[in-house]
Symmetry: C2
Subunit: 255 residues, 2 copies
DNA sequence: ATGAATTTGTCCGTATGTATA
DNA sequence: CTATACATACGGACAAATTCA
């Protein structure tokens, strides 16, 4: 029983787990704990500070959500690798085609080793947001993809469209995933942006599994719709972008 | 000791606190728990499910970070009020002055009841990000402001500049807060955008206090720098925008 | 390939502090 | 001032995933 703290509350105003969190973050930033290095185990850290393991877990949980460490059961807790912040340079900001995280083939320009893989094609359930955006009450075809770079997920993308209007759409996905290209090449339909929205949310359990992050991690949530030549809403899409890996940047300096 | 679950692991594959979280969210979405309504206390919920209070707290913690409920010590846990998501319409996307969350006087166009108040003017500590952006190693003047609308915080803004270059700067803030206007009117310096960056992060304790949210809530983090006519970096700024209240939207439909 | 050891994940019980009504 | 309700913290136990001999 340390005189400096008792059950229920420490002497100071800052909770113990916040103190531990701050100290660990200090060690990471100072390089005492290097990227990739494994932290001491939770019982060891608990012994070092003379606190309960749960207190350590609270501190590490915060660090994990913020992306400073990665925690894996059975393996341990490691300092997160140097986050190569992918700079997304907006070419001019003037063209609607080149907006933030466009639905075109190259989600992140300049990142050459990126791959986009098909995760799932489904049609089962109602999805209100998509149905509202497309003005339809019927079930829609849903396509989920995952974009990775450097061996790690960058973002997950989902889009919805009316399957009956584009028969055999799913079959064309073997060649190319990008919906705009499939629609143009196989159906002669050219889509353009209707609207896009961007906000910050937290990763759900499902998001976290796919993106290989902890549930509750910050993600940029981007959604939007595209219309065809007759201005009929045809494509609704969502994108969840790892906040710890991607930073959109706009440079005006050289202009 | 329920046969359906034992210490350490429930019978199913989904953790207890996830089940509780999902069920509470279901009640909120179904309207069984209405916005503003108070949830049963943690011990009551624990008794209802026959689980430990810690399990309830884990579930509620996730809901709080996601913005579905607000938790206040001594008061209770309430279903979050209907979040009037302030849509930030980007006028054209063409002009650099009208970019996302610009540093001008009206952070959120069309939101008339918004107020920007001065929180603090300080100079004490070193701030590496600002010093690097401005290419200075000296202490900088820091100005913190808070933008509110509908009686609730929308975003917090901080900017840094070299105090010695602009003597008496802090004194001018009584009239107007926006740095670009103060610099133009009192020093004849016209700044323009050098760069802007945008990503998603989690609210720190300090952020959370000011923004009236739970630490760990999602925020859009925006930073950038402005340069003067000689292209000298003069102003560095950060902005933390509540993800639960603000959604940036871009409309191309009528163009 | 197998099994043991290691490490994190989940859950229970209890106690006390602090903010709010 | 008192009661209520959440915040923090301790201790113990077992499950599940990973690692490694």
């Amino acid at each position: 029983m340390n005189a400096a703290r008792q059950n229920g509350r420490p002497s100071g105003r800052v909770p113990l787990y916040r103190q531990v969190e701050a100290e660990l973050l200090r060690r990471i930033r100072a390089g005492t704990l290097k990227p990739g290095e494994r932290l001491p185990t939770e019982p060891e850290l608990a012994a070092e500070w003379g606190v309960n393991r749960l207190t350590i877990r609270q501190a590490i949980g915060e660090l994990a959500r913020a992306g400073h460490v990665t925690v894996r059961q059975g393996s341990g807790t490691h300092v997160a690798a140097e986050q190569l912040t992918v700079e997304y340079a907006l070419p001019t900001l003037a063209s609607a085609d080149a907006d933030v995280g466009s639905a075109t083939a190259m989600p992140i320009p300049g990142q050459e080793d990126q791959t986009e893989t098909l995760v799932e094609v489904s049609e089962q359930d109602a999805f209100p947001a998509a149905q509202e955006a497309l003005g339809l009450s019927e079930p829609l075809l849903r396509v989920d993809t995952l974009v990775e770079a450097g061996g790690q997920p960058l973002l997950m993308s989902s889009y919805w469209l009316h399957a009956e209007r584009f028969p055999g759409f799913a079959g064309h996905l073997a060649d190319r995933i990008a919906p705009l290209e499939v629609l143009r090449e196989h159906y002669g339909v050219n889509l353009r942006h209707a609207w896009r929205a961007l906000t910050a949310t937290l990763a759900s359990s499902a998001d976290a599994t796919l993106l290989d992050i902890v549930p509750g991690s910050p993600v940029m949530f981007r959604e939007g719709a595209n219309v065809d030549e007759q201005r009929v809403p045809t494509l609704y899409l969502q994108r969840r972008i790892r906040g710890d890996r991607i930073k959109f940047t706009m440079n005006y300096s050289t202009a």
